[in-house]
């Protein structure tokens, strides 16, 4: 189905365009004219972006990234393209690319959104993928240039691209044999190394394998021999174990017999049983008597009864009785020790008492003279009370005398006072009677005074001295008597103490005598007991020996029987020790031989394994090498196939292409000097060294009918027309639904007649309804185009983007 053409485009934020621009494309011919950098190519790329979400420079050329398509002053590029088909259905594609995000696309069919895979839908509607669009619809200046300029190989590549067979060529070139050759070289190297290392030894491998087999056979036989020997050894060992067990038992019994015989040699032979019995009876009686002495009547009774039951019981109970008596002996010994200790204590105390008595007596002797002195003083002065009474009497007398003396002294003082007053005043009053005394009385008073002083006063003083002296004497005697009375008290105490100690001394003496008697008695008892025990133990020992002798003799007979039985058993076992030793030696020798053979086998096996491994490795490497070579051949064959298929497709396409190309050329090229075109294919070597097809386009000269090479003989303009013919014929060959061709600066060097013819011709080509042409050539403003015609003039417009002006419109 053919029928889609462009109706309108809206561009905002895409490449040169910042502010939104809207172009009405609903014409047969749309010319975009403007100088360099005014956005002509941006409009064409915006169309490409809207339809495919990318551009040739982004996807194939890798010159740009999608984000580079966004205007520098905008954060997103948005292009809306409206298409219309022959039935009037509209298709609106809205493509948006935000910086750093994925591109989004929406498709509105007759205003309604399409919900399926939009891109597939668009490509389906157009009948073109991006590659085909780049090849057939968008005819760029550089594509045309590549067809008509440059070296032949480059031109041929450009034609291959247009023919769509460059993929096969590139695929052919991508198949590199170098990797395979390197791998082959590496494997060959490894293989050679292995052959150098093992080359000589590999011949020995078979000999070594034969030797290994022989060795393994010998080893097997030796092992069998060892197994047989081990069977016999096992039998012998079993016998040997039995033999050794019996031998050990025999040795044990023989040792026991020797031991018993040794014991018997130490025992008395020929003891008379009756005599022993009689002696035991006597001993039992003695022991019973002693037990009774120690009040052990029950034990004594038991022992007497045992005498009638048997010798063994008698001996056992006699032993018990002996233990009892020994215990009694111990008790006696302890008692003696206790009494001894007590006696020592008493003696010590007695000695202390004697010492104390001696001291008291000495003291009494010292006090006796003082006692006698006291007695004498008592006889002379009476007792202490008498002395106290007498001293009291003397004290009373002294007091009287002292009162009298004091009265006399007062009278003398009074007389002296009166005399003094009389002497001074001539009269005074009597201090006693208060009568008047005159001076005449002085003499009388003085006489009275002298009398008192000489007679009364003097005698009283003498009497006082005597009384004082007597009193002091009595007091001294009394003091002495008091002292002596104290001594007398001590003396009495000492006498009492002496008497008490004397009694105590006598008590202790009595206790000592008692303990000594008791001690003598216990020692005597202990001595008797010891004698008895010693005697009884001797007798018991004899009797025990007798019993032991009996028992040993019985054991001896038993062991001798056992030894006889064991010897008979030894004979029956029939163990040959020599044979056993020989078998052991043979086994050891065989094992040593096997070990040596195993070492040799291991050595050979190691060599065989190593060589086998080398052989395997060589085989493996050879296999790999063969496969690699085969693979290399296959790759060469693949390349040949690709060439072949390329040739087949090329031939077919060139046939069609030449036919259409001539048709188009004749329409565009209005001059008569060239009549037709053809394409020859030749083989040429590339710089990389492989062969490829090279196209040679030839034009037929009208003047002489010769085929001349386009590249070398035709002008730039003629070559451009040939190239355009070729490209447009490809559009005709393509089976797409898009009725538009887009030219980006297609024919810079073509005269205006040819340009007009070009426009006319394009719209006449079957299937092309619309031409969009971007050019710097101002002459296109005046050129008459077919059908509805519009010319947009583009100019620089600053930050907001190029300005677009509709300068010419021709409505049909």
């Amino acid at each position: 189905m053919r029928g889609l053409r462009l109706k309108e485009i809206r561009i905002r934020g895409f490449k040169a365009f910042n502010k939104e621009v809207r172009l009405n494309l609903d014409y047969n011919t749309v010319i975009l004219i403007g100088p360099v950098g005014t956005g002509k190519s941006s409009v064409i790329q915006a169309l490409e972006f809207a339809l495919y979400g990318t551009t040739y420079d982004v996807r194939v050329g890798k010159l740009l990234k999608l984000d580079d398509l966004i205007n520098d002053f905008s954060d997103k590029a948005e292009v809306t393209v409206k298409l219309v088909d022959e039935e009037g259905r509209t298709y609106e594609i809205i493509r948006v690319k935000r910086r750093g995000r994925r591109t989004t696309v929406r498709l509105l069919i007759n205003g309604g959104p399409y919900s399926g895979d939009v891109q597939s839908m668009i490509e389906g509607l157009l009948g073109l993928d991006h590659d085909a669009f780049s090849r057939h619809i968008l005819i760029k200046h550089d594509v045309l240039n590549a067809l008509i300029k440059g070296p032949p190989l480059r031109r041929s590549e450009a034609i291959d691209k247009l023919l769509g067979i460059e993929t096969l060529e590139e695929c052919f070139r991508s198949i590199s044999l170098r990797t395979v050759e390197e791998e082959i070289s590496k494997v060959e190297g490894e293989l050679n190394n292995l052959k150098i290392i093992y080359g000589g030894n590999l011949k020995d491998l078979n000999n070594l394998k034969v030797e290994l087999k022989k060795l393994q056979e010998v080893l097997r036989r030796k092992k069998e021999e060892v197994e047989r020997l081990e069977g016999r050894l096992s039998e012998l060992e079993s016998k040997m174990h039995e033999y050794l067990n019996v031998r050990r038992e025999l040795d044990k019994y023989e040792t026991l017999i020797e031991h018993i015989k040794e014991e018997l040699r130490g025992l008395k032979y020929g003891i008379d049983l009756e005599e022993v019995k009689e002696r035991i009876k006597v001993v039992v009686e003695d022991v019973c008597g002693t037990l009774e002495e120690f009040l052990l009547h029950e034990e004594a009774e038991k022992l007497r009864k045992a005498l009638n039951t048997g010798m063994k019981d008698t001996l056992r109970i006699l032993r018990d009785a002996l233990y009892e008596l020994k215990w009694e002996e111990d008790k006696l010994r302890s008692e003696i020790m206790e009494i001894n200790e007590e006696l020592i204590n008493y003696r010590n105390k007695y000695e202390n008492l004697t010492n104390n008595l001696r001291k008291i007596r000495n003291r009494l002797e010292e006090l006796k003279p003082l006692v006698r002195e006291y007695e004498k003083l008592s006889e002379k002065y009476g007792n202490l009370k008498n002395l106290e009474r007498r001293i009291a009497e003397l004290n009373g007398l002294r007091k009287d005398i002292e009162d009298k003396i004091r009265a006399g002294e007062e009278r003398v003082d009074l007389i002296n006072k009166v005399i003094k007053e009389l002497t001074l005043s001539g009269s005074t009053k009597c201090p006693v009677c208060r009568s008047k005394v005159t001076r005449e009385k002085i003499r009388e008073l003085e006489a009275e005074r002298d009398k008192i002083i000489k007679s009364e006063y003097s005698s009283l003083r003498k009497e006082l001295e005597r009384v004082n002296s007597e009193s002091k004497n009595y007091e001294r005697i009394m003091e002495r008597m008091k002292e002596l009375s104290l001594k007398l008290s001590d003396y009495a105490d000492l006498v009492s103490e002496e008497s008490k100690l004397k009694e105590e001394e006598e008590d202790y003496l009595e206790l000592i005598r008692e303990d000594e008697d008791k001690l003598d008695e216990l020692r005597f008892k202990l001595d008797n007991l010891r004698k008895l025990l010693s005697k009884v133990e001797g007798e018991v020992e004899v009797y025990e020996k007798y019993l032991l002798l009996k028992e040993r003799l019985s054991k001896l007979r038993e062991y001798e029987t056992k030894v006889r039985q064991l010897r008979e058993r030894l004979k029956r076992i029939d163990f040959n020790e020599d044979e056993y030793k020989k078998a052991i030696a043979l086994k050891e020798s065989l094992n040593a031989e096997i070990a040596s053979l195993k070492a040799r086998e291991k050595d050979i096996r190691g060599k065989v394994e190593k060589l086998t491994e080398a052989v395997t490795k060589i085989r493996e490497l050879t296999n790999i090498l063969n496969n690699l070579r085969k693979f290399k051949d296959e790759l060469i064959e693949v390349k040949n196939y690709l060439r072949e298929v390329q040739r087949v497709v090329r031939e077919k396409r060139l046939r069609d292409l030449t036919e259409y190309m001539n048709y188009v050329f004749k329409q565009i090229y209005v001059h008569k000097d060239l009549t037709s075109l053809k394409i020859d294919v030749e083989r040429a070597k590339t710089e990389e060294g492989y062969e490829r097809s090279v196209y040679n386009i030839l034009a037929k000269r009208a003047s002489d009918g010769a085929w001349i090479p386009v590249y070398s003989k035709l002008s730039d303009g003629q070559r451009a027309i040939v190239a355009l013919s070729l490209v447009l014929s490809l559009f005709k060959m393509a089976s797409c639904n898009f009725m538009t061709v887009i030219f980006d600066e297609p024919v810079p060097n073509v005269d205006s007649k040819c340009k007009e013819a070009l426009l006319r011709m394009i719209t006449r080509i079957e299937g092309i309804e619309q031409v969009i042409l971007a050019t710097q050539d101002e002459k296109f403003k005046e050129i008459e185009g077919p059908g509805r015609f519009v010319v947009y003039s583009l100019s620089h417009g600053g930050k907001e983007g190029p300005r677009i002006e509709e300068v010419r419109v021709v409505h049909e």
Partner: protein, 62 residues
């Protein structure tokens, strides 16, 4: 007929090597030169590992 169809039909008719060629061609269409290298490297690895398998089997017999 489109190019891919022609190529596929042509190579399929070439037997085992044709299959390899088709595999390489498809890898090229998908990933370009890298895809072709990848196919060749994989084939090389297969060849080497096939060789190693031979070694393993031989060792069992030693």
């Amino acid at each position: 007929m489109e190019l891919d169809g022609v190529v596929t039909q042509f190579l399929k008719a070439k037997g085992k090597v044709g299959e390899l060629a088709l595999e390489i061609y498809k890898a090229f269409l998908k990933e370009g030169r890298k895809g072709v290298d990848r196919v060749i490297e994989r084939k090389l690895r297969e060849i080497v590992s096939e060789g190693a398998k031979v070694k393993g089997n031989k060792n069992k017999g030693v």
